[in-house]
Symmetry: D4
Subunit: 230 residues, 8 copies
């Protein structure tokens, strides 16, 4: 049971931040990568007593199978490696949409992580895929859809140039996500990250490598403010 | 004279993006660090024909003196190392404000760069200084002012922990700026940057080291959307 | 048999420092990661002739099974990946306790390594889990327990901010342990390490990434001095 | 004037943590490197109203001259690049002493920073200089003095091997300080730091490169506990 | 005097590769940065006996003044920091031209180094300046001129995205030069270099940071082959 | 179906650049490493409607088996990990040849990737293997064959010295490919890359680590120009 | 068959340096790690026609089994991961011996690689194991044996301090080998390498991480000179 | 006065290792870079009581002037930035010579540091300058002189390829010295160092960047053994 400070232990391995949904508008999101299935089950069960929305990131298929067998009301998004709950997918809570733009086919897992997060947080999503800068007319072919978005998330690996180009074409908040796609001197995404941080288009902000979730959380936070009056 | 593509050369060293203000809402901003005074004078003069707003970053005092002697209507902000023009400071164009929060006295130059940029772009600013996490009650003493902002910019060097703590306390878009303040293993800001990218509070986005301008540009872009109805 | 210099060979692969317990107060601790089961068995057997306390770190379950089958009196701590011996767990040898504080559920293995080491060295332990800075009231909910400790060990991955915050709240010796938990730019713990070394709270000292054992050894060494009169 | 939260602004550039001395036993220490003389003067003047002990680190001779001309009661320690105040040097507050051991003549500035800090915090200091491992009998010639200390601070640049060797010889808490002394692949102290973090002697803890102050603060904190009964 | 192996010593500090012009088509080029004026004068004098073409790179204005005072027939290119000789500038030796494209005003020194080298090697040059990707219509405004070149040199600092975009638009050999322009995480050009090596447009090759000379030498070598029949 | 912008989607995961062959002379090349077999099959099928030439790099044997079972007309090159199609191998389209020179037996996979790419693009290839600089007479034994090439590709891991030596002996365009062969401080090819970028022979250009394809694409682009009249 | 330049191809994947034994005193040594069993068999067979001494390094047990089944006269050294041939082990060819000193049990594989190489090259070896600096009396217990050697090889991972200490005690040529043993900030041996390069004992030279073979080759080369008259 | 342990303090800043000359054959060498003139004078005066040979490295001209004014019998080698004493230059103490080979004119300071050290230690030196691998016939022109040496020191910056090439041509102990000469990705010598550590010629050993002294000390130590009978 949560104590008066809004804190509730799960056995001896976790301390849930029960107040978080009230304080910040969305419950604690669970990072699944370094936790055991048993720990994730315990956390999910406890959270089901406090919230109707659960988001677990970086859950592989094997863990997902074990968890969904134990905890009712969860849905596994295989491309995004995410578990969501409890119950049916939420409806958009506000007008407008967020564009999730990715440079290559290989960046899709990260794009899906962003899209599922956004939908859980009540934003509508438009997906634009495989518009990297080496064939730049592909980007122009989708430019209107991007320009009409309230917020843009730009995802790219390798040389990470997509946000720089977009930043010069689109007058909307733009969040860049470097991915670990590439090889050799790509350094598992560090070059893409560096390129995004050093882009000459002003106003692009950046999140950690492969962090589709973080970009989506930030985008939803902007979206909520933008559309609070609607 | 700008050609039909909205491009205008300045001698043989620059190609102004004249359409930018119409396309993106703010004219090209000039990065002063690697340009000569002569180049900056040439660019400022040419821009004065096309816009009433000029922003030059990373201009040291010596260059500033030469440029203001040649180009009328410029104002030098010594703490921020910036030149703005043309004419008097702009008035806030929308309601609300942006909180520019910095962890230590040494981070002030970057905070000033952010504040001047925001004011040039029409946003009101509240400055909160020296509230680093090693004396965390200082932060709590200013928390309400931060929570009421439309967007928060959090600036910190050394271990860069301020955005993580703020991200768990404030439900607003939060942009983190690592600074190069520190020594030894601080690696001129790389550790602060890394800490901000790896923060466990979701939704924090990050810009380049010492890039107060970039954070402000992104914040203003969010602010414009948020308050577009006013 | 140990020669006059207090040195005893184990076959041709090890040279035990037999005098160590007398010289430093605790026998040689065996790092298990890069040694074969056969080597570890040989070392354990030889040490059983000289000491009643054995500590082996970084021993996985498979090796542990082989070793405990050969050497009597050993106990395997699965969460901590450690073997201890010989015989029952030692009792606390002094008053007071050491707080082992960790930021997230994923840091538990390192916390357990620290706790088992401390108990083997005669110190009582209080475990405080999942109090990372992104939900800082969780930390405040446990603050008194931490403040009453004789020494504090603070364990965190990702942005490694916990020791900085604690260092401003607690007036006790504080040892920080970065963990390799995280991804992308976390660089397997290098960012957490860097943040801890650059923390603005004075007096925090740091050990190697994931080195729960080393932090505990240092903490016990302080604890022994602090409570030598009891 | 400090408000009820124990926080007091100095103009618009600093926010003093007035409660710190009561909370943690020593007032806020001022890092001088990135602050202007004017800021340091303002901070020193304000602190003089609240405490009789002031410590400013990384103050070069030029700044020191300006500050001592304005603020009475300060003393400049040129070798250590520190300012202390207010009034005469404090007397040892407890029995025993701390050994400040350094590997080479070039490490002296860091050793002096540690020694001045310790003396300000009430601990007696023994200085042992130029006992690096390449002439290891020099270390043995001073070993008894080191062994009798309550805490040992070991300072070394280049290959940073001194703490490893000491850690196998001395059964006391041992804090290592890497210095930036060296060239080429020394990487301004990163190799010494790395060597200290990877030392095979257990129980050595480490602080940032050249951070004599931080090591001393930690050592004094241990010393206070050790000798609290005397 | 050159010996039979085509090798000629200059005092005791250099060994000229006299045969190089015959063997490779262009005499040895002298890297001026780490040589004294006296050494450069000695080398220039000796080379004047063997060739009518001299190229010295990275010669600052002070050295240039001393050298031109001693060695007749040299010309100093201040923007490019180069000395050339002997006599008047050479005429184009073949048809077609090479496009030297640079992303920003700050990249001009490197662009000039490339252009002077190309002209010394007999190729005609078209300079296209300030066409970085953040205002991509500036690039399209110059695209035909670039497409008609025999070889393209693309120079950019910061995020280094120009070659990727050009590589998808232009079917000619394309050599990319990263520059050290930028700050913070730009790492003095390493990010631009990394981005160029990881670009998704195939067929872009890269030279060292700021190495305008090397790119020009490679481009001239291609140009010679391309136009060998004319 | 491709729309008017020359862009054609493949389900929701790819956007083919159909115009590329017309625009740049060769169709889009598919990087297979991070794509699933299903995605590669979809892409290959769609491309078969638009081009007679298909090149897929980094396809392992398991994926290749699945793809060739579904898509007719493909050929798998096991040493090069490449799929080519559609139909029989193309004939040389121009005179002369390209020398693919590699330093060691272990560099052969990269050399084969380069050779297959060149042949697909219509250039004849001469392979020269195992002529690393530690037995430099092996290189001299093959020097005439290298000198007669139109373009030279030099492939080396470890210390990456081959291009520097070749660059001083051969007056032809020379493209260097670092490989990830080596261990310890080789840093998976970063040292070889660095050595190639810093080579003192002018005019060598470099591609990403292990990027035999990229070097070949650049070489073919030069070759086409060189032999356009024949 | 070897041509007149002393070069002999093995199929299309290797070019043997047949003259090497005559030129340098020992035949080509084969690095087995990145070669297939088939390639190693081909090379071994061809070399058997030219030399009575074969050394293959980094051959795992599976490859070794395949190779020894095909090529007669080879012996596999499992601890050292080496194959030697042809026939019985060679006898020492000169007086004196080389000391192979290693810091820990985990460094044994590298030590064995050094020892087997030395014996193949005709030098006698004394092995001294587990004498790391954290229990420095273990080293003193073996010091006379080390001092009497003609050359000393010192092998250590982690903080790599052994060569610095030895360098101050022993007046003989000393070659240091860093190993990849360690974890966290050990960076797979880079810290040990850095410590060895920055050691304050003069005259220590260093080889690549884990390169026991290279150190032994260098030591044997010195030994040959030292004892050439005997 | 030296105590019984062979240790003598110089004021409070140094502890001379008086026994070193007897123990290791050469007195302590003083690294001058981070010491003040006053400290160097104190050390030199004290050493003059114990030895007739003094070597101080990294002493700039300004310090040298102050020191030679105070301490009689010293000689300053400006190119090598070294002070030697006391009295006239020593004569060769043994037959044979050591070849100091450097790749470029810019590497001369390091070569001189090596040569002066060798002469002080009693070895004769042959200097071979500017024989880098990009004009490899220059190296062949000097090859016999190198082959006849007892030990070879190979010095190179940039890509550091000289030792690899020499290692395949010369059957003598070979010590490589990377220099910080280069720019951009040369990383102040780290690439040259890496190339030398990864060279495919066996038996090359390496010292720290720019460490001509260390290479010479090691070479002299080998030379002494080689010629001990003469």
């Amino acid at each position: 049971m949560a104590d008066q400070l809004g804190v509730e232990p799960v056995n001896d391995y976790a301390l849930l931040d029960i107040d978080r949904e009230k304080r910040l508008g969305f419950p604690e999101v669970v990072f699944g990568e370094n936790k055991t299935s048993a720990q994730l089950i315990g956390i999910a069960e406890r959270m089901s007593a406090h919230t109707s929305r659960l988001l677990m990131t970086r859950v592989d298929a094997a863990k997902a199978e074990q968890i969904t067998a134990c905890v009712p009301g969860l849905h596994y998004h295989a491309e995004a490696c995410m578990l969501t709950g409890f119950g049916p997918a939420p409806k958009p809570e506000r007008g407008g949409y967020i564009a999730v733009v990715c440079a290559g086919t290989s960046d899709l897992r990260v794009a899906q992580e962003a899209a599922v997060t956004l939908e859980m947080m009540g934003s509508r999503v438009e997906r634009i895929t495989d518009v990297g800068v080496a064939g730049i007319h592909r980007l122009f072919a989708r430019l209107e859809l991007i320009r009409e978005a309230d917020v843009v998330i730009a995802i790219a690996g390798m040389e990470g140039a997509l946000p720089s180009v977009l930043g010069g074409l689109v007058a909307k908040p733009l969040i860049a996500v470097p991915t670990s796609i590439g090889y050799g001197t790509g350094l598992n995404g560090l070059i893409a990250l560096g390129a995004m941080l050093n882009g000459c288009a002003p106003g692009v902000t950046v999140v950690n490598i492969d962090n589709g979730f973080g970009a989506a959380y930030a985008a939803a936070s902007i979206h909520k403010q933008t559309r609070r009056e609607t």
